[in-house]
């Protein structure tokens, strides 16, 4: 086809789509969208990388669904079948597990970078809150997905996790029964967790993610307050194509790291869960639950009038609420920021998470 005819047809198709999809508005919006340029610009990539890894999760999760069977008698065997008999099954499962772990890591990096770069300030309070909800959903994905291979560590992790939920005053016992689908962790729990993992959580996460991204678009990307020049301008780069191409490179690097990890360190399957076997020595949860796990290990059996695990749970809950409410206590009523309190809280939280994760891993 001659080039002139081709461009004529292309222009007609674009005009047809323009009229029906209002593409010109999107083009106009993207042409004006910018990203601040400063020494901390690199941290802006982590939200996008988390989104990219979520996409990998969805894609590999759908593939695993083709062979996985969510019952206590078949779950372990079906995963074994995937990793031993299905072509590249080991790789797909390994990619799913590794990208889940990397996604949690990048979500934490994104959260702390937003906290320290002060991206939560007015009018982005709801963006921060939706991000905290997304982090909670990501951890719920991790917790529910961890049980699905029905192996020993997953079985005990679920017993501990649901028992911990059961120790919440008043709502704990019915909540634990609801999560387990009964009084104990059984095949019923596995079926429920499967439902949460592949239907409930993806639906809720997609909705909250849509709100989070819409708010990011609505308010643009925040620049740290200490960068404001006398004219109130921070140097910017265009989102399309400058930032987008850089972000795509970051995604490609993340994909390379994921591919290397998944191929060189295939995710182990472990032993099949046996409800009548003792918890094996050296058992511990996934790294992202190690800090609370190690804290619970250190707590005495009773703290004041509470049992140790209840005290721990209340402590984690209050800490989580305090951190989620950051935009509301981070600024004084007169509008001045509580800079030291915010940075101090962030540093302490980061120090607790990293040191206790390390201790939980080593001990």
């Amino acid at each position: 086809m001659p080039v002139a005819v081709f461009s004529q047809r292309k222009a007609r198709v674009v005009a047809w789509l323009d009229e029906r999809l209002a593409l010109d508005r999107i083009r106009e919006f993207l042409a004006h969208k910018t990203v601040p340029v400063h020494s901390g610009t690199i941290w802006y990539y982590f939200g996008g990388i988390t989104l990219f890894l979520f996409g990998i999760q969805v894609a590999t999760g759908i593939l695993l669904l083709l062979y996985y069977r969510p019952t206590a008698t078949e779950a372990y065997e079906s995963v074994q079948f995937i990793v031993t008999r299905v072509e590249f099954g080991w790789l797909i499962r390994s990619l799913h597990s590794w990208s889940a772990n990397l996604m949690i890591l990048t979500a934490f990096v994104h959260m702390f970078s937003v906290a320290f770069l002060r991206g939560w300030r007015r009018p982005r309070e709801v963006t921060w809150l939706s991000g905290i909800v997304l982090l909670g959903l990501t951890l719920a994905f991790g917790f529910s997905g961890y049980l699905l291979p029905w192996n020993t560590t997953a079985y005990f992790a679920t017993k501990v996790g649901t028992d911990l939920a059961g120790s919440i005053p008043l709502i704990g016992p019915p909540l634990a029964r609801f999560l387990r689908g009964g009084d104990d962790v059984t095949g019923g729990t596995l079926t429920r967790f499967f439902g949460f993992h592949v239907a409930v959580l993806p639906a809720v996460t997609t909705a909250v993610l849509a709100v989070h991204l819409a708010l990011v678009q609505r308010f643009g990307i925040s620049s740290p307050p200490w960068l404001k020049t006398s004219e109130g301008k921070v140097p910017q780069m265009r989102f399309v194509p400058n930032f987008l191409l850089r972000e795509l490179m970051a995604w490609y690097a993340a994909l390379a790291a994921l591919g290397v990890l998944a191929a060189l360190f295939p995710w182990p399957l472990g032993e099949k869960a046996d409800p009548f076997a003792p918890a094996p020595a050296g058992i511990r949860p996934e790294w992202y639950f190690l800090a609370p796990f190690y804290t619970l290990k250190l707590l005495p059996s009773h703290v004041a009038f509470l049992e140790g695990e209840q005290a721990g749970l209340i402590g984690f809950g209050l800490l989580g609420l305090w951190w989620a409410a950051l935009p509301f206590w981070g600024v004084r009523p007169d509008g001045r920021e509580r800079t030291r309190l915010v940075t101090g809280t962030g540093v302490l939280l980061l120090a607790w998470l990293s040191s206790f994760t390390l201790l939980g891993y080593l001990k």
């Binding site: 005990f156 017993k159 501990v160 649901t162 028992d163 911990l164 019915p174 029964r177 609801f178 387990r180 689908g181 009964g182 009084d183 104990d184 019923g188 409800p275 009548f276 076997a277 003792p278 918890a279 094996p280 020595a281 050296g282 058992i283 796990f293 619970l296 290990k297 707590l299 005495p300 059996s301 009773h302 049992e307 140790g308 695990e309």
Partner: protein, 143 residues
């Protein structure tokens, strides 16, 4: 004929809609609540043969749907405890070298009477009665 005001009509309609929504939500809430699975009450179970276990050893056995830790302390001395740790529900095991009961999840230790020695468990383990009938070891609920 009584006058129906806009306000009372709103209440009536609103109440009707709320009532109809509740009639949909209620069955869903009840559906989410798992039914209790009736189980024949287990009072005593033959769990092992004395020849299968050496003195100073333990093993987890089934007592109905519950795990129970059976310990052969000495030649003729047996103990049994609920194998579910009172801290966070993991299954405990017997450590012959220290003659203690150990939970690997959060490092809780119990003595041979089921009492907490160290670590986070808040309560002692439930104790079961153990009887021998010839070579058969029988576990029964206490009390």
């Amino acid at each position: 004929m009584p006058q129906v005001t806009r306000r009372s009509a709103n209440w009536l309609l609103g109440g009707g809609v709320a009532g109809s929504l509740a009639s949909f939500v209620y069955p869903v809430m009840r559906f989410l609540n798992p039914p209790a699975t009736p189980e024949a009450p287990v009072n005593e179970v033959v769990v092992a043969n004395a020849q299968q276990m050496l003195p100073n050893s333990g093993r987890v056995v089934k007592f109905g749907s519950k795990p129970v830790l059976l310990i052969r302390v000495g030649e003729a001395e047996w103990r049994a405890f609920g194998a579910t740790c009172t801290h966070l529900n993991c299954t405990v095991q017997y450590r012959p070298e220290s003659q203690q009961i150990w939970c690997a999840c959060h490092n809780g230790f119990y003595d041979l009477n089921g009492r907490v020695v160290s670590g986070p468990p808040p309560r002692p383990l439930d104790e079961y009665a153990v009887r021998t009938r010839g070579q058969e070891i029988v576990i029964a609920r206490k009390g």
